[in-house]
Protein backbone atom coordinates (compact mmCIF):
# COMPACT_ATOMS: atom_id res chain seq x y z
CA UNK A 1 0.00 0.00 0.00
CA UNK A 2 2.72 2.42 0.98
CA UNK A 3 4.35 2.67 -2.47
CA UNK A 4 1.00 3.46 -4.10
CA UNK A 5 0.02 7.02 -4.99
CA UNK A 6 -2.48 8.07 -2.34
CA UNK A 7 -3.26 11.46 -3.82
CA UNK A 8 -6.50 12.20 -5.62
CA UNK A 9 -7.70 14.90 -7.94
CA UNK A 10 -10.43 17.47 -7.29
CA UNK A 11 -11.45 19.77 -10.11
CA UNK A 12 -12.96 23.08 -9.01
CA UNK A 13 -14.79 25.11 -11.61
CA UNK A 14 -15.68 26.28 -14.22
CA UNK A 15 -18.97 26.68 -12.30
CA UNK A 16 -18.37 26.55 -8.58
CA UNK A 17 -19.59 28.50 -5.55
CA UNK A 18 -16.00 29.30 -4.54
CA UNK A 19 -15.34 31.10 -7.80
CA UNK A 20 -17.37 34.02 -9.04
CA UNK A 21 -16.42 33.60 -12.67
CA UNK A 22 -16.02 30.69 -15.08
CA UNK A 23 -12.55 29.40 -14.44
CA UNK A 24 -11.16 25.98 -13.58
CA UNK A 25 -8.46 24.81 -11.19
CA UNK A 26 -7.43 21.16 -10.91
CA UNK A 27 -6.19 20.24 -7.45
CA UNK A 28 -4.18 17.19 -6.44
CA UNK A 29 -4.80 16.43 -2.79
CA UNK A 30 -3.18 14.25 -0.21
CA UNK A 31 -5.85 13.96 2.45
CA UNK A 32 -6.79 17.56 3.16
CA UNK A 33 -3.54 19.05 1.89
CA UNK A 34 -3.06 20.44 -1.58
CA UNK A 35 0.04 19.03 -3.25
CA UNK A 36 -0.49 20.38 -6.75
CA UNK A 37 -2.67 23.00 -8.42
CA UNK A 38 -3.12 23.63 -12.10
CA UNK A 39 -5.11 26.52 -13.54
CA UNK A 40 -7.18 26.01 -16.69
CA UNK A 41 -8.39 29.27 -18.16
CA UNK A 42 -10.34 29.59 -21.39
CA UNK A 43 -13.99 29.29 -20.30
CA UNK A 44 -15.00 32.90 -20.82
CA UNK A 45 -13.79 33.82 -24.27
CA UNK A 46 -15.99 36.42 -25.94
CA UNK A 47 -13.99 37.48 -28.99
CA UNK A 48 -13.82 41.16 -28.02
CA UNK A 49 -10.45 41.73 -29.73
CA UNK A 50 -11.87 40.35 -32.97
CA UNK A 51 -14.91 42.63 -32.67
CA UNK A 52 -12.60 45.58 -32.07
CA UNK A 53 -10.64 44.86 -35.22
CA UNK A 54 -13.79 45.47 -37.28
CA UNK A 55 -14.51 48.90 -35.85
CA UNK A 56 -12.88 52.30 -35.86
CA UNK A 57 -11.15 53.40 -32.62
CA UNK A 58 -13.99 55.69 -31.49
CA UNK A 59 -16.41 52.77 -31.70
CA UNK A 60 -14.03 50.56 -29.76
CA UNK A 61 -13.89 52.86 -26.68
CA UNK A 62 -17.39 51.89 -25.42
CA UNK A 63 -16.60 48.28 -26.33
CA UNK A 64 -13.35 48.30 -24.34
CA UNK A 65 -15.24 49.53 -21.27
CA UNK A 66 -17.31 46.40 -21.35
CA UNK A 67 -14.37 44.00 -21.14
CA UNK A 68 -14.68 44.09 -17.38
CA UNK A 69 -17.52 45.16 -15.14
CA UNK A 70 -15.26 46.65 -12.50
CA UNK A 71 -12.28 48.07 -14.38
CA UNK A 72 -14.18 49.85 -17.12
CA UNK A 73 -12.04 52.96 -16.60
CA UNK A 74 -8.84 50.93 -16.73
CA UNK A 75 -9.63 49.39 -20.09
CA UNK A 76 -10.72 52.61 -21.78
CA UNK A 77 -7.68 54.33 -20.33
CA UNK A 78 -5.33 51.69 -21.73
CA UNK A 79 -7.04 51.58 -25.09
CA UNK A 80 -7.05 55.34 -25.61
CA UNK A 81 -3.42 55.58 -24.47
CA UNK A 82 -2.44 52.88 -26.95
CA UNK A 83 -4.23 54.59 -29.85
CA UNK A 84 -2.83 58.01 -28.84
CA UNK A 85 0.62 56.46 -28.80
CA UNK A 86 0.09 54.90 -32.23
CA UNK A 87 -1.36 58.03 -33.84
CA UNK A 88 0.90 60.54 -32.09
CA UNK A 89 -1.92 62.42 -30.38
CA UNK A 90 -1.26 64.02 -26.99
CA UNK A 91 -3.99 64.34 -24.37
CA UNK A 92 -4.33 67.79 -22.84
CA UNK A 93 -2.88 68.52 -19.44
CA UNK A 94 -6.22 68.94 -17.71
CA UNK A 95 -7.45 65.67 -19.23
CA UNK A 96 -4.47 63.87 -17.68
CA UNK A 97 -5.51 65.05 -14.23
CA UNK A 98 -9.17 64.15 -14.73
CA UNK A 99 -8.09 60.70 -15.94
CA UNK A 100 -5.98 60.26 -12.80
CA UNK A 101 -8.85 61.27 -10.51
CA UNK A 102 -11.23 58.86 -12.20
CA UNK A 103 -8.69 56.02 -12.16
CA UNK A 104 -8.05 56.51 -8.45
CA UNK A 105 -11.77 56.66 -7.67
CA UNK A 106 -12.09 53.35 -9.43
CA UNK A 107 -9.25 51.93 -7.39
CA UNK A 108 -11.13 52.85 -4.20
CA UNK A 109 -14.26 51.18 -5.51
CA UNK A 110 -12.41 48.05 -6.65
CA UNK A 111 -10.49 47.57 -3.41
CA UNK A 112 -13.56 48.09 -1.20
CA UNK A 113 -15.41 45.58 -3.38
CA UNK A 114 -12.55 43.10 -3.05
CA UNK A 115 -12.55 43.46 0.74
CA UNK A 116 -16.21 42.45 0.73
CA UNK A 117 -15.56 39.44 -1.51
CA UNK A 118 -12.66 38.31 0.70
CA UNK A 119 -14.81 38.60 3.83
CA UNK A 120 -17.56 36.63 2.12
CA UNK A 121 -15.14 33.84 1.16
CA UNK A 122 -14.13 33.27 4.77
CA UNK A 123 -17.69 33.45 6.02
CA UNK A 124 -18.21 37.01 7.21
CA UNK A 125 -21.24 38.01 5.19
CA UNK A 126 -21.99 40.97 7.45
CA UNK A 127 -18.68 42.50 6.30
CA UNK A 128 -19.64 41.78 2.68
CA UNK A 129 -22.85 43.77 3.11
CA UNK A 130 -21.07 46.50 5.04
CA UNK A 131 -18.30 47.03 2.45
CA UNK A 132 -20.67 46.87 -0.49
CA UNK A 133 -22.89 49.43 1.21
CA UNK A 134 -20.02 51.86 1.74
CA UNK A 135 -18.88 51.25 -1.84
CA UNK A 136 -22.10 52.89 -3.03
CA UNK A 137 -20.73 56.25 -1.89
CA UNK A 138 -17.91 56.21 -4.46
CA UNK A 139 -20.23 54.77 -7.09
CA UNK A 140 -22.52 57.75 -6.48
CA UNK A 141 -19.60 60.11 -6.98
CA UNK A 142 -18.60 58.36 -10.21
CA UNK A 143 -22.19 58.64 -11.38
CA UNK A 144 -22.25 62.31 -10.44
CA UNK A 145 -19.09 63.00 -12.48
CA UNK A 146 -19.60 60.65 -15.42
CA UNK A 147 -23.39 60.44 -15.66
CA UNK A 148 -23.48 56.68 -15.30
CA UNK A 149 -22.84 54.24 -12.52
CA UNK A 150 -20.76 51.57 -14.24
CA UNK A 151 -19.97 52.25 -17.89
CA UNK A 152 -18.73 55.81 -17.67
CA UNK A 153 -18.11 56.63 -21.35
CA UNK A 154 -15.76 59.31 -20.15
CA UNK A 155 -12.67 58.77 -22.27
CA UNK A 156 -12.01 59.87 -25.80
CA UNK A 157 -8.88 59.83 -27.91
CA UNK A 158 -6.97 62.98 -26.97
CA UNK A 159 -8.66 63.70 -23.67
CA UNK A 160 -11.86 63.18 -21.72
CA UNK A 161 -15.47 63.97 -22.55
CA UNK A 162 -16.57 65.44 -19.25
CA UNK A 163 -14.95 68.02 -17.06
CA UNK A 164 -14.56 67.96 -13.28
CA UNK A 165 -15.50 71.54 -12.51
CA UNK A 166 -15.02 73.48 -9.31
CA UNK A 167 -18.72 73.03 -8.64
CA UNK A 168 -18.05 69.31 -8.19
CA UNK A 169 -15.17 69.67 -5.72
CA UNK A 170 -17.36 69.82 -2.56
CA UNK A 171 -18.94 66.50 -3.44
CA UNK A 172 -15.54 64.95 -4.24
CA UNK A 173 -14.13 66.19 -0.94
CA UNK A 174 -17.16 64.97 0.97
CA UNK A 175 -16.74 61.45 -0.43
CA UNK A 176 -13.01 61.44 0.30
CA UNK A 177 -13.66 62.59 3.88
CA UNK A 178 -16.20 59.80 4.24
CA UNK A 179 -13.66 57.15 3.20
CA UNK A 180 -10.99 58.67 5.40
CA UNK A 181 -13.23 58.39 8.43
CA UNK A 182 -14.28 54.93 7.35
CA UNK A 183 -10.75 53.62 6.94
CA UNK A 184 -10.30 53.18 10.70
CA UNK A 185 -13.28 50.87 10.84
CA UNK A 186 -12.11 48.86 7.81
CA UNK A 187 -8.69 48.48 9.41
CA UNK A 188 -10.28 47.36 12.66
CA UNK A 189 -12.35 44.74 10.81
CA UNK A 190 -9.77 43.36 8.38
CA UNK A 191 -6.49 43.80 10.23
CA UNK A 192 -7.53 43.80 13.88
CA UNK A 193 -10.20 41.12 14.09
CA UNK A 194 -8.67 37.93 15.58
CA UNK A 195 -10.85 35.47 13.64
CA UNK A 196 -10.09 37.14 10.29
CA UNK A 197 -6.41 37.15 11.26
CA UNK A 198 -6.57 33.40 11.89
CA UNK A 199 -8.00 32.78 8.42
CA UNK A 200 -5.62 35.09 6.56
CA UNK A 201 -2.30 35.09 8.42
CA UNK A 202 0.27 32.62 6.95
CA UNK A 203 -2.25 31.41 4.36
CA UNK A 204 -1.42 31.47 0.66
CA UNK A 205 2.17 32.61 1.02
CA UNK A 206 3.94 33.98 -2.03
CA UNK A 207 7.63 34.57 -1.38
CA UNK A 208 9.48 37.46 -2.96
CA UNK A 209 11.57 35.12 -5.18
CA UNK A 210 8.49 33.30 -6.43
CA UNK A 211 6.69 36.60 -7.05
CA UNK A 212 9.59 37.84 -9.16
CA UNK A 213 10.08 34.52 -10.96
CA UNK A 214 6.39 34.17 -11.87
CA UNK A 215 6.03 37.83 -12.97
CA UNK A 216 3.07 38.56 -10.75
CA UNK A 217 1.75 42.13 -10.74
CA UNK A 218 -0.04 44.58 -8.52
CA UNK A 219 -1.00 44.20 -4.85
CA UNK A 220 -0.42 40.44 -5.15
CA UNK A 221 3.36 40.90 -5.42
CA UNK A 222 3.63 44.18 -3.53
CA UNK A 223 2.41 42.20 -0.49
CA UNK A 224 5.56 40.05 -0.91
CA UNK A 225 7.74 43.16 -0.84
CA UNK A 226 8.32 43.49 -4.59
CA UNK A 227 8.53 47.16 -5.56
CA UNK A 228 6.50 47.08 -8.76
CA UNK A 229 4.03 49.80 -9.69
CA UNK A 230 3.61 51.26 -13.17
CA UNK A 231 2.44 54.56 -11.66
CA UNK A 232 5.98 55.07 -10.34
CA UNK A 233 8.10 52.94 -12.69
CA UNK A 234 6.74 54.44 -15.90
CA UNK A 235 4.39 57.31 -14.99
CA UNK A 236 1.40 57.90 -17.22
CA UNK A 237 -1.47 60.44 -17.01
CA UNK A 238 -0.61 62.85 -14.18
CA UNK A 239 1.23 60.43 -11.90
CA UNK A 240 4.58 61.98 -12.80
CA UNK A 241 3.55 65.21 -11.03
CA UNK A 242 2.21 63.52 -7.92
CA UNK A 243 3.91 62.39 -4.78
CA UNK A 244 3.47 58.65 -4.28
CA UNK A 245 5.45 55.67 -3.07
CA UNK A 246 5.25 51.87 -3.36
CA UNK A 247 2.72 50.42 -0.94
CA UNK A 248 4.52 47.47 0.63
CA UNK A 249 3.81 46.08 4.13
CA UNK A 250 7.29 46.92 5.53
CA UNK A 251 6.50 50.62 5.07
CA UNK A 252 3.83 50.28 7.75
CA UNK A 253 5.80 48.14 10.22
CA UNK A 254 4.56 44.78 9.02
CA UNK A 255 6.57 41.92 7.50
CA UNK A 256 6.59 41.37 3.74
CA UNK A 257 5.22 37.86 4.12
CA UNK A 258 3.07 37.74 0.98
CA UNK A 259 0.19 35.95 2.69
CA UNK A 260 -3.48 36.85 2.36
CA UNK A 261 -3.20 39.17 5.36
CA UNK A 262 -0.49 41.29 3.72
CA UNK A 263 -2.48 41.40 0.48
CA UNK A 264 -5.44 42.76 2.45
CA UNK A 265 -3.13 45.25 4.14
CA UNK A 266 -1.71 46.47 0.83
CA UNK A 267 -5.18 46.95 -0.64
CA UNK A 268 -6.42 48.87 2.40
CA UNK A 269 -3.33 51.08 2.43
CA UNK A 270 -3.79 51.74 -1.28
CA UNK A 271 -7.23 53.05 -0.43
CA UNK A 272 -5.57 55.72 1.72
CA UNK A 273 -3.01 56.37 -1.01
CA UNK A 274 -5.77 56.84 -3.60
CA UNK A 275 -7.55 59.37 -1.37
CA UNK A 276 -4.29 61.28 -1.02
CA UNK A 277 -3.63 61.17 -4.79
CA UNK A 278 -7.10 62.53 -5.60
CA UNK A 279 -6.58 65.38 -3.11
CA UNK A 280 -3.24 66.20 -4.78
CA UNK A 281 -4.88 66.15 -8.23
CA UNK A 282 -7.71 68.43 -7.13
CA UNK A 283 -5.19 70.88 -5.65
CA UNK A 284 -2.92 70.94 -8.71
CA UNK A 285 -5.62 70.75 -11.40
CA UNK A 286 -4.40 72.86 -14.34
CA UNK A 287 -6.68 75.10 -16.40
CA UNK A 288 -7.33 74.44 -20.06
CA UNK A 289 -9.19 72.26 -22.50
CA UNK A 290 -10.23 68.75 -21.66
CA UNK A 291 -10.00 67.45 -25.20
CA UNK A 292 -7.21 68.10 -27.70
CA UNK A 293 -9.52 67.51 -30.67
CA UNK A 294 -13.16 68.36 -29.90
CA UNK A 295 -14.18 67.91 -33.55
CA UNK A 296 -14.60 64.17 -33.72
CA UNK A 297 -14.95 64.05 -37.51
CA UNK A 298 -11.48 65.60 -37.83
CA UNK A 299 -10.16 63.12 -35.28
CA UNK A 300 -11.56 60.19 -37.26
CA UNK A 301 -9.79 61.48 -40.37
CA UNK A 302 -6.55 61.86 -38.45
CA UNK A 303 -6.82 58.30 -37.16
CA UNK A 304 -7.50 57.03 -40.66
CA UNK A 305 -4.29 58.64 -41.89
CA UNK A 306 -2.26 57.43 -38.91
CA UNK A 307 0.12 54.54 -39.28
CA UNK A 308 1.92 52.87 -36.43
CA UNK A 309 1.63 50.86 -33.28
CA UNK A 310 1.29 51.81 -29.65
CA UNK A 311 0.87 50.40 -26.19
CA UNK A 312 -0.95 51.64 -23.13
CA UNK A 313 0.43 50.46 -19.80
CA UNK A 314 -1.66 51.14 -16.72
CA UNK A 315 -1.54 50.15 -13.08
CA UNK A 316 -5.04 48.74 -12.72
CA UNK A 317 -6.43 48.05 -9.22
CA UNK A 318 -5.37 44.43 -9.76
CA UNK A 319 -1.92 45.21 -11.15
CA UNK A 320 -0.23 46.13 -14.37
CA UNK A 321 -2.18 45.59 -17.56
CA UNK A 322 -1.67 46.71 -21.12
CA UNK A 323 -3.32 47.17 -24.49
CA UNK A 324 -1.54 47.00 -27.81
CA UNK A 325 -3.07 48.69 -30.86
CA UNK A 326 -1.88 48.98 -34.43
CA UNK A 327 -3.26 51.44 -36.98
CA UNK A 328 -2.78 51.16 -40.72
CA UNK A 329 -2.83 54.09 -43.11
CA UNK A 330 -6.02 54.32 -45.15
CA UNK A 331 -7.85 51.86 -42.93
CA UNK A 332 -10.52 53.05 -40.52
CA UNK A 333 -10.63 49.90 -38.42
CA UNK A 334 -7.93 48.89 -36.01
CA UNK A 335 -5.38 46.65 -37.66
CA UNK A 336 -4.60 44.80 -34.46
CA UNK A 337 -5.74 44.97 -30.85
CA UNK A 338 -4.31 42.91 -28.02
CA UNK A 339 -5.28 43.01 -24.38
CA UNK A 340 -3.26 41.61 -21.51
CA UNK A 341 -5.05 41.97 -18.20
CA UNK A 342 -3.40 41.70 -14.79
CA UNK A 343 -5.14 38.48 -13.80
CA UNK A 344 -3.31 36.68 -16.60
CA UNK A 345 0.01 37.27 -14.86
CA UNK A 346 -1.34 36.64 -11.40
CA UNK A 347 -2.81 33.25 -12.28
CA UNK A 348 0.67 31.76 -12.35
CA UNK A 349 1.17 32.78 -8.73
CA UNK A 350 -1.65 30.41 -7.74
CA UNK A 351 0.60 27.33 -7.83
CA UNK A 352 3.01 28.29 -4.98
CA UNK A 353 0.20 29.89 -2.99
CA UNK A 354 -2.01 26.80 -2.98
CA UNK A 355 0.82 24.38 -2.19
CA UNK A 356 0.48 22.81 1.26
CA UNK A 357 -2.77 24.57 2.12
CA UNK A 358 -6.10 22.95 2.96
CA UNK A 359 -9.24 22.54 0.86
CA UNK A 360 -11.10 25.06 3.02
CA UNK A 361 -8.51 27.71 2.17
CA UNK A 362 -9.09 27.40 -1.58
CA UNK A 363 -11.79 30.12 -1.83
CA UNK A 364 -9.85 32.82 0.00
CA UNK A 365 -6.59 32.05 -1.83
CA UNK A 366 -8.41 32.01 -5.15
CA UNK A 367 -9.94 35.39 -4.27
CA UNK A 368 -6.76 36.96 -2.87
CA UNK A 369 -5.32 37.88 -6.27
CA UNK A 370 -8.66 39.56 -7.06
CA UNK A 371 -9.16 37.45 -10.19
CA UNK A 372 -11.11 38.89 -13.08
CA UNK A 373 -11.67 36.20 -15.65
CA UNK A 374 -13.73 38.43 -17.91
CA UNK A 375 -10.63 40.60 -18.40
CA UNK A 376 -8.26 37.72 -18.79
CA UNK A 377 -9.69 35.17 -21.20
CA UNK A 378 -8.48 36.37 -24.54
CA UNK A 379 -7.41 33.45 -26.70
CA UNK A 380 -9.18 30.42 -28.01
CA UNK A 381 -8.75 28.61 -31.27
CA UNK A 382 -11.84 27.85 -33.29
CA UNK A 383 -11.74 25.64 -36.36
CA UNK A 384 -14.07 27.49 -38.71
CA UNK A 385 -14.96 24.39 -40.76
CA UNK A 386 -15.77 21.97 -37.96
CA UNK A 387 -16.65 24.46 -35.23
CA UNK A 388 -14.26 22.72 -32.83
CA UNK A 389 -12.84 24.83 -29.98
CA UNK A 390 -9.62 24.22 -28.13
CA UNK A 391 -6.59 25.94 -26.68
CA UNK A 392 -2.94 24.94 -26.92
CA UNK A 393 -0.82 23.76 -24.01
CA UNK A 394 2.71 25.02 -23.56
CA UNK A 395 4.22 21.73 -24.84
CA UNK A 396 2.10 21.74 -27.99
CA UNK A 397 3.04 25.34 -28.69
CA UNK A 398 6.70 24.48 -28.15
CA UNK A 399 6.48 21.60 -30.64
CA UNK A 400 4.76 23.90 -33.16
CA UNK A 401 7.44 26.52 -32.68
CA UNK A 402 10.26 23.99 -33.19
CA UNK A 403 8.55 22.68 -36.31
CA UNK A 404 8.25 26.18 -37.72
CA UNK A 405 11.98 26.80 -37.21
CA UNK A 406 12.71 23.55 -39.01
CA UNK A 407 10.43 24.51 -41.90
CA UNK A 408 12.09 27.92 -42.21
CA UNK A 409 15.53 26.33 -42.21
CA UNK A 410 14.46 23.83 -44.85
CA UNK A 411 13.09 26.70 -46.91
CA UNK A 412 9.57 25.30 -47.21
CA UNK A 413 7.91 28.32 -45.53
Amino acid sequence: MSDKDTTYQVPIGPIHPALKEPFMINFRLDGETIVDAEAHPGMNHRGIEFMGMHRNPLKVIPLSERICGICSIVHQHMFTTAVEHAAGIEPTNRARYIRTIMAELERIHSHVLWAGVAAHEIGFDTHLHFTWKVREKVMDLLEYIAGNRVNYSMWTIGGVRRDITEKMYPKVNETLDYYESLYKKLEEIFLGDPSIRLRTKDIGILTEEEALRLCGVGPTVRASGVKKDVRIDQPYAAYGDLDLDYVIPSRYGYENTGDVFSKTLVRLKELVQSIDLIRQCVDQMPEGDIDSEPKKAVLLNKLKKADGEGIGRIEAPRGEAFHYARLKEGQEELDCWKIRASTYNNLTTYAPMFMGEQIADIPIIAACIDPCIGCMDRAEIVEINSGERYSYTHEELHVLSVEKTKKILEGSL
Binding site: K59, V60, S153
Partner: protein, 134 residues
Protein backbone atom coordinates in the same frame (compact mmCIF):
# COMPACT_ATOMS: atom_id res chain seq x y z
CA UNK B 1 -20.50 43.48 23.44
CA UNK B 2 -24.27 43.20 23.79
CA UNK B 3 -24.75 46.86 24.67
CA UNK B 4 -23.01 48.16 21.55
CA UNK B 5 -24.92 45.64 19.42
CA UNK B 6 -28.25 46.85 20.79
CA UNK B 7 -27.18 50.44 20.23
CA UNK B 8 -26.24 49.69 16.60
CA UNK B 9 -29.54 47.88 16.00
CA UNK B 10 -31.61 50.80 17.34
CA UNK B 11 -29.52 53.22 15.29
CA UNK B 12 -30.12 51.17 12.16
CA UNK B 13 -33.88 51.17 12.76
CA UNK B 14 -33.91 54.95 12.88
CA UNK B 15 -31.49 55.80 10.06
CA UNK B 16 -32.58 56.23 6.46
CA UNK B 17 -32.07 53.12 4.35
CA UNK B 18 -29.17 53.14 1.89
CA UNK B 19 -31.35 51.70 -0.87
CA UNK B 20 -34.33 53.45 -2.39
CA UNK B 21 -37.31 51.10 -2.79
CA UNK B 22 -38.46 51.57 -6.35
CA UNK B 23 -41.08 51.56 -7.91
CA UNK B 24 -43.04 50.74 -4.74
CA UNK B 25 -42.01 50.34 -1.13
CA UNK B 26 -42.99 46.66 -0.86
CA UNK B 27 -42.64 44.83 -4.16
CA UNK B 28 -45.90 42.94 -4.82
CA UNK B 29 -45.94 39.34 -6.03
CA UNK B 30 -47.67 40.32 -9.21
CA UNK B 31 -46.05 43.26 -10.98
CA UNK B 32 -48.71 43.36 -13.73
CA UNK B 33 -51.48 43.75 -11.16
CA UNK B 34 -49.44 46.46 -9.46
CA UNK B 35 -49.00 48.25 -12.80
CA UNK B 36 -52.78 48.34 -13.31
CA UNK B 37 -53.21 49.57 -9.74
CA UNK B 38 -50.76 52.39 -10.47
CA UNK B 39 -52.69 53.23 -13.64
CA UNK B 40 -55.97 53.47 -11.74
CA UNK B 41 -54.31 55.60 -9.07
CA UNK B 42 -54.74 53.19 -6.14
CA UNK B 43 -51.00 52.78 -5.74
CA UNK B 44 -48.46 55.59 -5.77
CA UNK B 45 -44.94 55.21 -7.12
CA UNK B 46 -42.07 55.80 -4.73
CA UNK B 47 -39.98 58.45 -6.50
CA UNK B 48 -36.64 57.28 -7.98
CA UNK B 49 -33.32 58.66 -6.73
CA UNK B 50 -32.23 62.00 -8.08
CA UNK B 51 -30.54 61.84 -11.46
CA UNK B 52 -26.92 62.96 -11.78
CA UNK B 53 -26.24 66.10 -13.83
CA UNK B 54 -26.01 65.45 -17.58
CA UNK B 55 -27.51 62.03 -17.21
CA UNK B 56 -27.52 60.05 -20.44
CA UNK B 57 -31.04 58.71 -20.93
CA UNK B 58 -33.14 57.93 -23.98
CA UNK B 59 -32.00 59.76 -27.09
CA UNK B 60 -34.16 62.45 -28.71
CA UNK B 61 -33.82 63.05 -32.43
CA UNK B 62 -34.67 66.23 -34.32
CA UNK B 63 -35.64 64.89 -37.76
CA UNK B 64 -35.98 68.29 -39.44
CA UNK B 65 -32.54 69.52 -38.40
CA UNK B 66 -30.81 66.37 -39.68
CA UNK B 67 -28.86 66.86 -42.90
CA UNK B 68 -28.05 63.17 -43.45
CA UNK B 69 -24.26 63.47 -43.17
CA UNK B 70 -24.02 59.98 -41.59
CA UNK B 71 -21.30 60.99 -39.12
CA UNK B 72 -23.30 59.54 -36.23
CA UNK B 73 -23.26 56.14 -37.91
CA UNK B 74 -19.48 56.24 -37.87
CA UNK B 75 -19.27 56.52 -34.07
CA UNK B 76 -22.23 54.46 -32.87
CA UNK B 77 -20.61 51.44 -31.14
CA UNK B 78 -23.78 49.37 -31.02
CA UNK B 79 -24.95 50.13 -34.55
CA UNK B 80 -28.22 51.39 -33.13
CA UNK B 81 -28.46 53.96 -35.92
CA UNK B 82 -29.53 52.92 -39.42
CA UNK B 83 -29.45 55.23 -42.44
CA UNK B 84 -32.62 55.54 -44.50
CA UNK B 85 -31.26 56.33 -47.96
CA UNK B 86 -34.47 57.48 -49.69
CA UNK B 87 -35.38 59.87 -46.88
CA UNK B 88 -31.73 60.83 -46.10
CA UNK B 89 -32.40 60.59 -42.34
CA UNK B 90 -31.48 58.07 -39.65
CA UNK B 91 -33.55 55.60 -37.70
CA UNK B 92 -32.62 54.89 -34.07
CA UNK B 93 -33.30 51.61 -32.27
CA UNK B 94 -33.58 52.47 -28.56
CA UNK B 95 -33.19 48.82 -27.53
CA UNK B 96 -29.71 48.63 -29.09
CA UNK B 97 -28.45 51.96 -27.71
CA UNK B 98 -25.61 51.88 -25.16
CA UNK B 99 -26.17 55.53 -24.09
CA UNK B 100 -22.61 56.65 -24.75
CA UNK B 101 -23.72 59.97 -26.34
CA UNK B 102 -20.99 59.84 -29.02
CA UNK B 103 -23.60 60.60 -31.73
CA UNK B 104 -24.70 63.67 -29.80
CA UNK B 105 -21.07 64.84 -29.63
CA UNK B 106 -20.24 64.37 -33.31
CA UNK B 107 -23.47 65.72 -34.86
CA UNK B 108 -22.70 69.02 -36.67
CA UNK B 109 -26.36 70.15 -36.44
CA UNK B 110 -26.96 68.96 -32.84
CA UNK B 111 -30.01 66.89 -33.76
CA UNK B 112 -29.35 64.38 -31.00
CA UNK B 113 -29.84 65.08 -27.33
CA UNK B 114 -29.76 62.77 -24.34
CA UNK B 115 -33.01 63.23 -22.40
CA UNK B 116 -33.51 62.34 -18.74
CA UNK B 117 -35.95 59.57 -19.55
CA UNK B 118 -34.78 56.21 -18.27
CA UNK B 119 -37.95 54.16 -17.72
CA UNK B 120 -37.84 52.76 -21.23
CA UNK B 121 -38.29 49.03 -20.75
CA UNK B 122 -40.91 47.52 -23.01
CA UNK B 123 -42.17 44.19 -24.21
CA UNK B 124 -41.73 44.84 -27.93
CA UNK B 125 -38.42 46.27 -29.05
CA UNK B 126 -39.83 47.16 -32.47
CA UNK B 127 -42.81 49.14 -31.13
CA UNK B 128 -43.12 52.79 -32.17
CA UNK B 129 -41.81 54.27 -28.92
CA UNK B 130 -38.74 52.01 -29.06
CA UNK B 131 -37.69 53.26 -32.50
CA UNK B 132 -37.03 56.93 -33.20
CA UNK B 133 -38.10 58.05 -36.68
CA UNK B 134 -39.44 54.59 -37.62
Amino acid sequence: MPTSTIYTLIKQLLTKKATNPFPVKYTPNNMHAAASLIESGDLTINPPVELPPDFRGKLSYDVDACIGCQLCLKVCPAEALVFKSEERKVKHYVSRCTFCAQCANICPKDCFEMTEEFLIAGLDKYSDDMILNP
